[in-house]
């Protein structure tokens, strides 16, 4: 029983961390119509920045400054925002599929840097002993994990409320106008390029935040934690949950991560070691299949977009 509860806490923590990244994607895609195919890149920037800022020093590494947890989190968000700003300036004026290709390239490049820039990232060995504010705080690991889960829930709630307010604000309405008809929005005197860039940077900052929270939870980062499949997973979470709906984004994160974990658990129980690779392949195939089926059969996802009215409207 206690084993199941600990697993449930572990599961929820990861699912909700991914939920934060999905909320970021919902602002970019659901809110503004920006196709970010490099989610894992911003997530990895957040995770690595957090690790470099907070992990205890190691003589062979440049970073590892052992700074406080909160400095690590803020630093991770700033780094992801900066990366999004630089790439956004280059690519946000580009529409649709060009942005997808360019952001896809960012993720590939960041993965290469993580693998090859050993002095900063530890290369394939990664960075270990990344601090967590709750590690060793209470008597049992379960109590510590519960404490951290509470922090994640609080951060997710703040992000959710902020995004909901944004969607009802004039700023949010401009984003939606850009998504529906960019020329019309421009005709109304809106600087659409600047709005797109803002949405791109804020969304990517949330992805960086999620990466930092993940690194702090697991306590270890390496390039193998940031494979391209993560981008596909988060896309599947948003599309299956319901693009354009923040509650859909969170629900999708829990549902998709649930399916993923169940298949993974079944595969690791049933399959002998040399066939484990098929478990991973099955997980990825089912994510792909779910994505295609939802697009074909239920394009609005589990809970689709709801009409949003200004909070000043009666």
């Amino acid at each position: 029983m206690i084993g199941f509860v600990s697993y449930l806490v572990f599961f929820l923590t990861v699912a909700l961390i991914l939920g934060i990244a999905t909320l970021g994607l919902n602002l970019q895609w659901g809110g503004t119509g920006l196709f970010n195919a490099g989610i894992v890149g911003f997530y990895a920037i957040g995770a690595y920045t957090f690790a470099i800022l907070t992990a205890p020093p190691r003589p062979e590494l440049l970073g590892n400054f052992e700074l406080p947890w909160i400095v690590g989190v803020v630093g991770a968000m700033a780094a992801a925002a900066l990366a999004a700003l630089i790439t956004g300036l280059a690519t946000v004026r580009l529409r649709g599929d060009y942005l997808a290709v360019a952001t896809f390239g960012i993720a590939v490049t960041i993965q290469l840097v993580a693998t090859n820039f050993e002095a900063l990232t530890g290369g394939t060995m990664g960075i270990a002993s990344i601090p967590n504010p709750f590690r060793g705080l209470f008597a049992t690991p379960l109590a510590n994990n519960l404490g951290y889960l509470a922090v994640i829930v609080a951060i997710l709630a703040v992000a959710y409320v902020a995004l909901e307010r944004i969607a009802r604000s004039p700023w949010g309405r401009v984003l939606k106008a850009i998504r529906e008809d960019e020329v019309a929005a421009e005709t109304l005197g809106k600087n659409t390029r600047s709005f797109r860039l803002q949405a791109f940077v804020i969304g990517s900052t949330l992805m960086g935040l999620a990466g930092a929270l993940y690194a702090s939870f697991i306590g270890f980062v390496s390039p193998f934690d940031f494979l391209p499949i993560l981008t596909f997973q988060i896309w599947a979470m948003l599309i299956i949950g319901g693009s354009g709906n923040n509650r859909g984004a969170i629900l999708g994160a829990i549902v998709v991560w649930g399916i993923w974990s169940v298949i993974g658990a079944v595969a690791s129980k049933m399959l002998p070691v040399q066939l484990q690779i098929y478990g991973g392949a099955a997980q990825a195939m089912i994510i792909g299949l779910a994505l295609v089926l939802v697009l074909l059969l239920r394009p609005r996802g589990l809970i689709g977009e709801q009409p949003v009215t200004s909070r000043h409207a009666v």
């Binding site: 119509g33 196709f35 195919a37 280059a90 690519t91 004026r93 580009l94 529409r95 649709g96 599929d97 060009y98 997808a100 290709v101 360019a102 896809f104 390239g105 960012i106 590939v108 490049t109 290469l112 840097v113 693998t115 090859n116 391209p228 499949i229 596909f232 896309w235 599309i239 690779i277 098929y278 392949a281 099955a282 990825a284 195939m285 994510i287 792909g288 299949l289 779910a290 994505l291 295609v292 697009l295 074909l296 394009p299």
Partner: protein, 300 residues
């Protein structure tokens, strides 16, 4: 050093060009970025492998590492890969088009299809590297200090021949003319009595067949792995965007530029970063000339 890097770059570039032409053709006709295109290269390589394994091992032809079975395999694989592409279109893309889904919805769907296809390869053939044959080749010194395998020379020659053939096909055959007209204006083409569905099928067939050939060539000169196509995806996109979507010779030039840059970059930057070179190139081109080098129309 430089001579060898140029020779290697031309070879990679030729393979990328074949992949990029197929991608560009589809992107031009159907107006979306198909992320599943790279998996067509992988499937092409593996289907040829399946045929080679089934057929009796033939005598190697001349100085090359393979015999007639591989030639049969290439033909089978071209048709098979084309059929996979047509199946993906019938089952998914055409339904989304019928619903007038946005082009980005099609990009999404191609993400999903790519995931399915890539992992299906893992299921069927496993994660290990495969080869078409066990023959070892002795490289020839074609220029002072430039060595190439006979296979590589043949791959380059065949690439040139294919591009010329494709150019003639698009320029002069009825279906080629129909394809070009549909890319310009689908509605007008339909009014003129062009069977749109047939043209779309032909586009996928051609694009799949070219991808299959590129995949076999990549498998022949490097090795066959489940992620071989996916690892080339960024380079393919870059080559196609560099050349300007829909331009045949643009895609060829794009492929060669990407291949050469990748291989020459190894002289100045650590090889670990080689895969990021296409991305750097892509950012430069998107800044300076987003419509591509060889496209007349401005497109942003």
């Amino acid at each position: 050093m430089i001579g060898q890097a140029i020779a290697d770059g031309l070879l990679t570039g030729g393979i990328l060009a074949l992949g990029a032409i197929g991608y560009s053709l589809c992107a031009h006709m159907l107006k979306f970025a198909n992320f599943a295109h790279a998996e067509m290269l992988t499937w092409g390589a593996y289907m040829a492998l399946a045929v080679v394994t089934v057929l009796p091992a033939g005598q190697a032809i001349g100085p090359f590492s393979f015999g007639w079975p591989l030639l049969v395999a290439i033909v089978v694989s071209c048709i098979g890969t084309g059929l996979i592409a047509i199946a993906a279109d019938t089952l998914v893309f055409s339904r989304l088009r019928k619903r007038r889904a946005s082009s980005l919805t099609l990009v999404f769907a191609s993400f999903g299809i790519a995931l399915i296809l890539r992992n299906l390869v893992l299921f069927v053939w496993g994660a290990d590297a495969h080869y078409y044959g066990q023959e070892l080749q002795i490289s020839l010194e074609i220029l002072p200090n430039v060595r190439m395998m006979p296979d590589q020379v043949l791959v380059l020659a065949l690439t040139v021949a294919l591009v010329v053939a494709l150019h003639l096909f698009l320029k002069h055959s009825r279906i080629g003319v129909a394809m070009r007209s549909m890319a310009e204006n689908p509605a007008l083409s339909q009014v003129c009595g062009i069977d749109i569905a047939k043209v779309v099928r032909w586009t996928w067939m051609l694009s799949g067949a070219l991808a299959a050939i590129a995949g076999v060539f990549a498998g022949l000169t490097v090795q066959i792995r489940p992620e071989m196509g996916f690892n080339m995806l960024l380079a393919l996109f870059t080559a196609a965007i560099l050349g300007g979507t829909g331009s045949l010779f643009g895609a060829v030039a794009g492929g060669l530029i990407v291949g050469l840059t990748e291989s020459l970059s190894a002289l100045v930057i650590p090889t670990g970063y080689k895969a990021a070179v296409p991305f750097g190139l892509l950012l430069i081109i998107l800044y300076l000339r987003p419509q591509g080098l060889f496209s007349r129309s401005a497109r942003v």
